[in-house]
Symmetry: C2
Subunit: 345 residues, 2 copies
DNA sequence: ATCAGAAATGTTACCGGTAACATTGCTGGT
DNA sequence: ACCAGCAATGTTACCGGTAACATTTCTGAT
């Protein structure tokens, strides 16, 4: 910067002001400075700026995994929003581990992010402590926690799962099995299971068929194995509701191999609207979440949080991003409800 | 940090040394300091450290899109490698635009990354200039450019496409159509097309059926539209080789709707091994790329580049990550070549 | 006990920007 | 011509760490 200042015959400070275009530099001087900046290919060092202004321009963003289009899409949507206001994403993936999450939060804090965005799927005690002490807005995504640390953007997995179950009951299904992971305390899986039980009990139906298998997140393979042992798990069942689309797809594949007809012999339902559920044949009915919208809404919330001209009190603590039920070929269409269009839509 | 120093009765410098655990602090003193650090929940400010050490700990990473599991997976694999040596990823997505790429490179440079990783799909002139002047190792991923800026990790799209075409010819296909985008100068699409033409010409076959449609990256929808106008585009064709799995899946869906049998009436081949190609029915034969391996190899290369105990001359300029051909149900199995296992594998 | 040399700790200056305040130059109203 | 008041630019100090060098404290061999 000194070099630029020398070449332009001004002080470093004037160069600094010209670069930030704060309006206090005369047009002529600024033009001269910018020309020299371009010629010298000078690129300011943002970490120095950060130190001085105490604004890092970072948004720490954690996702469970990028190996899942849902999260990748939400990050991308968030990134688009943040770029517009000159913020950069610091990305980390927790691999569904609260321990990894804790480490990531700690290392992110060293960069002094202006906001911390992370999925809620349970946090360790120390993570919560770190987040609170960081003195930075925290946004939890996807699930709305019972006791949020800060802001939340998402929906209630429990409510969504209850809705789906109620709809299945309305379609005439009675003997419904729910497939979820073992040891899923505090995760979205547990919330979805709770919603299922709630709806079943309210309708006076049996929740005896709760199948627990594999560890979170349940894979296609897990579902395939369950489906392969049809007699053991799904004898006398009319509909299989899976904790996510991945096992639903696996179950479906296994059924197909055995010649079991879906939805005529049995129905299969997933959760999440992963790409596979649209492309499966038959395509899978599911609870549709819009990941890009979660990213976008998070981005907008951040813009509001960091803009000075809005009082913090006007900013809502929770932004609901609702889900909808997508009826496809894997359930019978008893009530002519809304149906999705072609898979290639 | 001052607070910690005071509380421990030492100087700031000793605290700094204790935190970095550089071995020069006595065990007793370090233990005392660490206890206080924990109690005070002190988290050091890395931008100050960066300024002083001139090491940011950042690796700038650009991807075309996260909305594609391939790139998301490679980023995740890269991240895993980098975490192990305390490096953080600064992520940006170019949305397949060289203009966006240029802006991103510029904004990343402000953070003084220690390495820059980006896909090669053509760069603007200024991007190349910026990269060269940054005086930082540059790694181009996926395609191996004619004239690389720095290191490269990937494969030759042209060679891979030639291989696939040769294999199709070996299977007995003669009238092969190639489907790719309009205006794909310098992109991987162009390279793949070139490889196709090369193989066809070498075999004395006609390359008249080069279908250009849509803009990069070609979508499922684009493929669907092409496939729907079968008579116009694919009359008298035996095999459709698509520039990526997305349009291949689209074409396939359209053919299915029309009752055209794959692979009996016509074969369909993709490129990339996207998830849909495994789950489609029939599953789609494709050129299989291993994105996680590209990420992993890139990470390892970075580790070598940044470690002091290896002379730069020993580090290879190009790391080849080879592709393989995956034969599935969408091509006839004339020569009993290797075949992929079940979709759920 | 003495002292060389290593181990442990302290001091000072600097990394590259910007906030805050100071100074200079210019404008137009009287 | 004079000066209030703003526009443009300059000066100084500081952000929170660490490199480099200085100093003190501890070892163990003589």
């Amino acid at each position: 910067m000194e070099d630029v200042a020398q070449a332009a015959g001004v002080s470093r400070m004037t160069v600094s002001r010209a670069l930030r275009n704060d309006g206090s530099v005369s047009v002529a001087t600024r033009a001269r400075i910018m020309k020299i900046v371009a010629k010298l290919n000078y690129v300011p060092d943002q970490s120095a700026g950060t130190l001085s202004t105490r604004r890092s321009g970072f948004v720490a963003t954690l996702v469970p995994s990028l190996n899942n289009l849902h999260f990748a899409e939400s990050v991308q949507a968030l990134n688009v929003e943040l770029e517009a206001i000159g913020l950069q994403i610091l990305l980390g993936h927790t691999a569904y581990s609260t321990e990894r999450e804790e480490n990531l939060v700690e290392s992110m804090l060293k960069r002094r992010p202006e906001v911390i965005v992370l999925p809620f799927d349970g946090h360790s005690r120390r993570t919560v402590k770190l987040l609170k002490q960081a003195n930075v807005p925290v946004i939890e995504q996807w699930e709305r926690p019972q006791r949020p640390v800060g802001y939340t953007v998402g929906f209630s997995n429990r409510d969504a799962s209850r809705q789906m179950t109620e709809a299945l009951i309305a379609k005439g299904y009675r003997k419904i099995a729910f497939v979820s992971e073992i040891e899923d305390a505090w995760t979205r899986g547990a919330a979805r299971r709770a919603g299922f039980e709630e709806a079943m009990q309210a309708a006076g139906l049996s929740t005896r068929q709760m199948i627990r298998y594999g560890s979170p997140p349940m894979s296609i393979e897990d579902g395939y194995q369950l489906g392969s042992d049809f007699k053991k798990y799904f004898n006398d069942i009319e509909c299989i509701f899976c904790v996510s689309d991945a096992p639903a797809f696996g179950v479906l594949s296994a059924l197909k191999v055995q010649g079991i007809q879906v939805p005529d012999d049995i129905a299969v339902v997933g959760f999440g609207n992963f790409e596979v559920s649209r492309f499966a044949s038959p395509s899978i009915s599911t609870v549709e979440v819009d990941p890009a919208r979660i990213g976008r809404e998070t981005g907008r919330l951040i813009r509001r949080l960091l803009s000075d001209d809005e009082s913090p009190d006007d900013i809502p603590g929770h932004i609901a991003v609702d889900v909808r039920l997508s009826w496809r070929e894997s359930t019978r269409n008893a009530d002519a409800a809304q149906t999705d269009t072609e898979p290639d839509a």
